[in-house]
């Protein structure tokens, strides 16, 4: 069936695969980044065309609509300014109380906006690429979020781009907590590969009884995610698993992972 050249080619391709798969991790990562950088012009082109389409859409908006949106934004801005003033007062009060008790002060978050430029082409991973890299101060294991809630963590960094493992990906496990009861568990993966809005929260105590609608936030344990980042809410009653040794619940994520366009990277 096969001729000699086929066997030689098969052996060479097999050898090449073995060599590449067994490269030291940092060499493999560098090689991967080098190969991935071939796509950078296309990413730039795609982004430019998106911006052009956006500008064309803006140009078509009638003036009355723009004025209405401006009014709305002014109102929202004023409301947010009042809230910020109130939050400043509460923060100062909180700092004073922290000093009195001798607790360490919590620092405000430093965030950097990034655009999502690509999704993982393989169906068995949940990762995206963002347009910030090591030259922008991005490092591995930084938390990535939207205004709705946690999205994932940075899992790989190149000079201009980074890979983000989304919540639900096997490489992004999150130590989570029920906001009301302070009970902790771990977000271990998606409930179904077809629906990335539902994830499994496991390692809950066996006698827990969670109800739908309870808010889930990051617990701050593990050192990657700061405490208090919203993750989502319990989607259905918790149920015992592993012969009743622990409980598990499904969590509906707050951030829409299927429609990510812009995300914020939480800097240390």
């Amino acid at each position: 069936m096969f001729r000699k050249p086929h066997y030689i080619a098969l052996a060479l391709v097999g050898l090449l695969t073995l060599i590449v798969l067994n490269l030291p991790s940092h060499t493999a990562a560098r090689l991967k980044l080098a190969v991935g950088s071939l796509f950078l012009p296309l990413f730039g082109l795609s982004r430019a065309s998106h911006q052009l389409a956006g500008k064309a859409g803006d140009a078509l908006l009638p003036r009355s609509e723009l004025v209405r949106q401006l009014d709305e934004l002014r109102r929202a801005n004023q409301e947010l300014q009042f809230r910020a003033m109130q939050a400043d007062t509460i923060s100062r009060e909180n700092d004073r109380l922290h000093d009195m008790v001798g607790w360490q002060r919590t620092h405000p978050w430093k965030l950097k906006l990034a655009n999502v430029v690509a999704r993982d082409p393989a169906n068995w991973w949940q990762t995206v690429q963002i347009d910030l890299g090591s030259r922008d101060g991005i490092q591995v294991d930084m938390a990535v979020l939207t205004t709705n809630g946690l999205v994932g963590r940075v899992s790989g960094v190149s000079l201009t781009h980074s890979q983000v493992a989304l919540i639900g990906d096997p490489s992004c496990k999150v130590s989570a907590m029920i906001e009301k009861t302070r009970e902790t568990g771990v977000i271990i993966g998606t409930a179904s590969p077809l629906d990335n809005s539902l994830v499994k929260m496991s390692y809950l105590s066996s006698n827990t009884s969670l109800r739908p609608g309870e808010r889930v936030i990051t617990s701050g344990m593990g050192g990657i995610f700061k405490e208090g980042i919203p993750i989502g809410e319990i989607a259905e009653d918790s149920r015992p698993v592993d012969f009743g040794l622990m409980s598990e619940a499904r969590v509906k994520l707050a951030a829409n992972l299927g429609a990510l366009e812009e995300v914020w990277v939480l800097l240390p």
Binding site: H6, T17, V35, L38, S46, A122, W124, Q126, P193
Partner: protein, 183 residues
């Protein structure tokens, strides 16, 4: 212009990987992203030489893995094996028939993700799998099957548009001319 077809195939492989990463419409509509590379491997193995089959599998696999969380190189063998099998048997395949193209595309698109997952699991990776993955596999297979004949039509069209048409030679030869009369 013998370089045109190989260049078009490699360019298509590169663009296919980019499009899979940038445009998620199949993922939202069908629940799975369709992979174009197995269909391209089928086309290459039925129309090009063996070096080209190897090049598409190696470069396509590397490009795919570079944009994915896959370890680099894991997609090469799963793309190469269907190509090799089809190439070795291509004398027996009715490559001009749409149904043959569909069946080969379906088979290659079904085998490639299975082999990739097998390799991933054997390298101690933990891809996100579940019952939903079965649906994704079926979508990938059917999508690859449908795209393969489309790819043949596309390349035929491009070849006709960009390549020189073969010169139709007449059967007239001066050395075989029968000269009549006295010389």
């Amino acid at each position: 212009m013998n370089w045109l077809n190989p260049a078009l195939i490699l360019l298509t492989a590169f663009l296919a990987v980019f499009l899979e990463a940038c445009f998620g419409a199949p993922r939202y509509l069908l629940g799975a992203q369709i992979d174009l590379l197995p269909a391209l491997v089928v086309y290459t193995s039925l129309t090009s030489n063996f070096g080209m089959v190897t090049a598409v599998a190696v470069l396509g696999g590397l490009w795919f893995d570079a944009l994915s969380a896959n370890p680099l190189g894991v997609s090469i063998i799963p793309l190469f094996l269907p190509g090799l099998l089809i190439y070795a048997r291509r004398g027996l395949i009715l490559r001009e028939q749409t149904y043959a193209q569909f069946v080969l595309g379906l088979g290659a698109s079904a085998v490639t993700p299975l082999l990739t997952l097998l390799l991933l699991l054997s390298t101690r990776q933990t891809p996100a799998l579940g019952w939903g993955s079965l649906w994704q596999w079926m979508v990938m297979s059917a999508g690859g099957g449908v795209l393969t004949p489309a790819l043949f039509r596309l390349f035929d069209g491009l070849e006709n548009a960009l390549n020189y048409r073969p010169v139709t030679e007449t059967s007239f030869r001066t050395d075989r001319e029968i000269r009549r009369g006295r010389s």
